[in-house]
Symmetry: none
Subunit: 128 residues, 4 copies
């Protein structure tokens, strides 16, 4: 799985990393039980500090995407990711809200917006 980081971006590196791993899981490039690189090797491959990788891994662990074994290393959660619940639904609403507000202001039609979402959804489900 290929990971591209923009070290100049305002988005923290660990966030970029985290999102790309989540995207990898969504695309089924990473499946339940698959191993992930060790913090050290991934940090070395990406040319970043191992603590940065570790921070991304810790958050992914905390959100239930991965398991971190002290010795065996890191694997995608074999039980799958916790499904949507109320807390997630309210969080996702809070995240989408301002995006749609701005789109409305900029005269993006609902149709266009939904179409964009469908495209992105399609991108993830193509390989299923």
């Amino acid at each position: 799985m290929y990971i591209a980081l923009d070290l100049e971006s305002e988005e923290p590196i660990y966030t970029q990393l985290k999102n790309q791993i989540i995207a990898g899981i969504a695309k089924k490039e990473l499946r339940s039980g698959d191993p992930l690189p060790s913090v050290r090797s991934l940090a070395s491959d990406l040319g970043i500090n191992l603590h940065t990788v570790n921070k991304a891994y810790q958050q992914l662990k905390q959100e239930g995407f991965i398991l971190i074994h002290r010795q065996k290393g890191v694997v995608v959660n074999p039980d799958g990711v916790p499904s949507v619940d109320e807390a997630y639904w309210s969080e996702i609403t809070k995240r989408i809200h301002p995006i749609i507000a701005e789109s409305v202001c900029r005269n993006v039609t609902e149709q266009d917006f939904l179409q964009l979402c469908r495209q992105i959804y399609a991108e993830f489900q193509s390989k299923e």
Copy 2:
């Protein structure tokens, strides 16, 4: 127009302020040419720092939502907000992408996701 800030939130205050003004424009509570409070009075009303309000206003100006006249004060852009362009389209895609990735992982169906977007859209267009 009522503005509610969460000073405890991880989201910077200036971002919250900016988003709520954009939401106000989207909901037509604020229309082209409408005046906005001065930096000073808004800061005082909200009990926050001048710089914080100023930062929000500067970014809104930068993105074409408002105009700041030295004398006339602050007004919603009378020419309307710049419509969607390619740059915005690519930016919006980048912002939605990780949200959808996580939703896919959490087994949110495309239908549910689109339905949520429709609801939020409806919230803005009700008063049109």
Copy 3:
């Protein structure tokens, strides 16, 4: 509130710090809304690294004991700590289980054990 760390202990410093802050809350030395020292000043006072303090604070935040404001600093959760729930009940059981197992082996009577617990409880509730 006085904090004593044992830098030689096997228990990680951030865990010791975390537990002492929880104890402070339990003893009402720290009350809802009370401010805690900044990571830098506490680190300096204790003679440890600010990242170590930060780790303790982050975990306390994650467990709902404190809130961390970007600017205002750190405060004890004004809404109080999340009450016991099933997850906590099962966790606490898992933590006490081996302690009692060993006590049974060492001929600590149930009475003595419960008496010890009562004493510790009393220590926290004396100032209430």
Copy 4:
């Protein structure tokens, strides 16, 4: 005696093993003088490393729970486990203290806490 290890747990495997053997002694499933499997066979049965079993055994020996003879193998201490002493009493206090502190914060009543301890005690003494 059945031993269940959680290889995913944060708790080191050797600690889990140690605690389960102590629990076995507390439950009288293992009695004074009873033989324990050899390091080699137990490691093989549990599918874990020799060193891991060895570390658990060494600590159990150190704390007086078992004896390790070069020839006769491993047995539960025929003289019984050393009874509670001051050192143990202070150690147990240190271990319970943070648990009760957190319980106080989370509004677990003393009654509920003591009741939980009684239940766990009962679990060990049922077979006596």
